[in-house]
Each structure stands twice: as C-alpha cells, then as structure tokens.
C-alpha cells in the first residue's frame, strides 16, 4: 500500500463529496471539472475539489484504484461514482437526492 493510496483513502474519508479534477474549485482547468462543480452547486451540500492536473502519479493511482480512465473522478460518502455522465443519468432517475441525504445524515 503506497503512501499515495493512503493519501487518497484519507481524502476520500475526509470529504463526503470529493471531486478529483483538473484545476481547483475557484480555477477549474477543464470543462468536465466545471460541469461537475456546477452539478454539486445545485444541491448546496459542501464539496471539495482536489487538483490532480499535474500529479501524474496520483492520477495513475486513482485510475488503478477505480478502474476508470478519465478525470474528473467523483466520490460520494466514500464510494466512487465516475463523473457527470453517470451522475446526470442517476439524477434523471432520482437516485442522487437520496444518496446525498444519507451521506449528510438528513
């Protein structure tokens, strides 16, 4: 278990909604990261964006851990949910609201 994996596990545990993306919350560098930030802004729950744009080692560790090739990578309540391609379809089926409610213990 490399320190990078531990670092990721800690970050995922520390944030109920966590987005690994390109750029930061205030200065996103990629359209898909912007879309993901806008997606969670609608719900009003706190979320964190961790910039891995220039951290190839961490990006590789994340891709291996999730078996998912692209960024952004979203974790909710410790579980991996891909990106807005998946979250949009889950939202259309009404699956996101209850998920966030349980995550924030409402």
């Amino acid at each position: 278990m490399s320190s990078i994996d531990d670092e990721i596990k800690q970050e995922v545990a520390d944030n109920k909604i966590l987005i690994y993306g390109k750029g930061t919350k205030s200065a996103p560098q990629c359209g898909f990261t912007v879309e993901t930030i806008q997606f969670f802004n609608k719900y009003g729950h706190p979320f964190e964006v961790i910039n891995v744009l220039d951290n190839m080692e961490k990006r590789d560790a994340l891709s291996k851990m999730t078996n998912w090739p692209t960024l952004p990578k979203v974790f909710i309540d410790g579980k991996f949910y891909g990106d807005t391609d998946i979250l949009d379809e889950m939202e259309a089926k009404g699956e996101v609201e209850p998920l966030l409610k349980t995550a924030f213990g409402e």
């Binding site: 998912w68 090739p69 692209t70 891909g82 391609d85 998946i86 949009d88 379809e89 089926k93 699956e95």
Partner: protein
C-alpha cells in the same frame, strides 16, 4: 482522430445490439458525445453501463484517437 463510422463500429464490436448516435463536438474528430442504446443495459446499473462503454472505447482512448468522450446510455424504450 477517428471517423464517426469507425467509432460506431468500435462500439458495436463490443456491444453487438448497440444503437449508436455520435456527435463530434468540435469538428476535430476527437471530442465526442456518444449515445449508446442497448437491451443488454436493462440488467446493468448506470455505473456498469458506463464501464462497459468505457471498456469498448479504451483502445481508441489509449492511443489518443479519442481525446474526450461524453457518454450517455439508455435502454430501448
């Protein structure tokens, strides 16, 4: 770069009954929106569907023919 017919064929190779609609977002043949409709998705949750499409696209993602793909999945209505 990959042509839309080649990209359609690539998807169908992996998901034989797939109905595929592709939009080239920039005209540069490497940023796509890909809609895949397949009956096989009926038994799969949304994450599994997207993993199936990601797996089929992987060769073209790895060698750079596809730079970015926004994927939508659906079952035949």
């Amino acid at each position: 770069m990959i042509s839309i017919p080649d990209l359609t064929a690539l998807v169908k190779e992996g998901i034989s009954d797939a109905e595929v609609e592709i939009l080239d977002r920039t005209g540069m043949k490497d940023h796509f929106i890909i809609h895949v409709t397949s009956a096989t998705f009926e038994s799969m949750d949304i994450m599994a569907r997207h993993r199936a499409v990601q797996a089929v696209l992987n060769p073209a993602m790895q060698d750079g023919r596809i730079h970015a793909a926004e994927i939508k999945t659906a079952t035949p209505s």
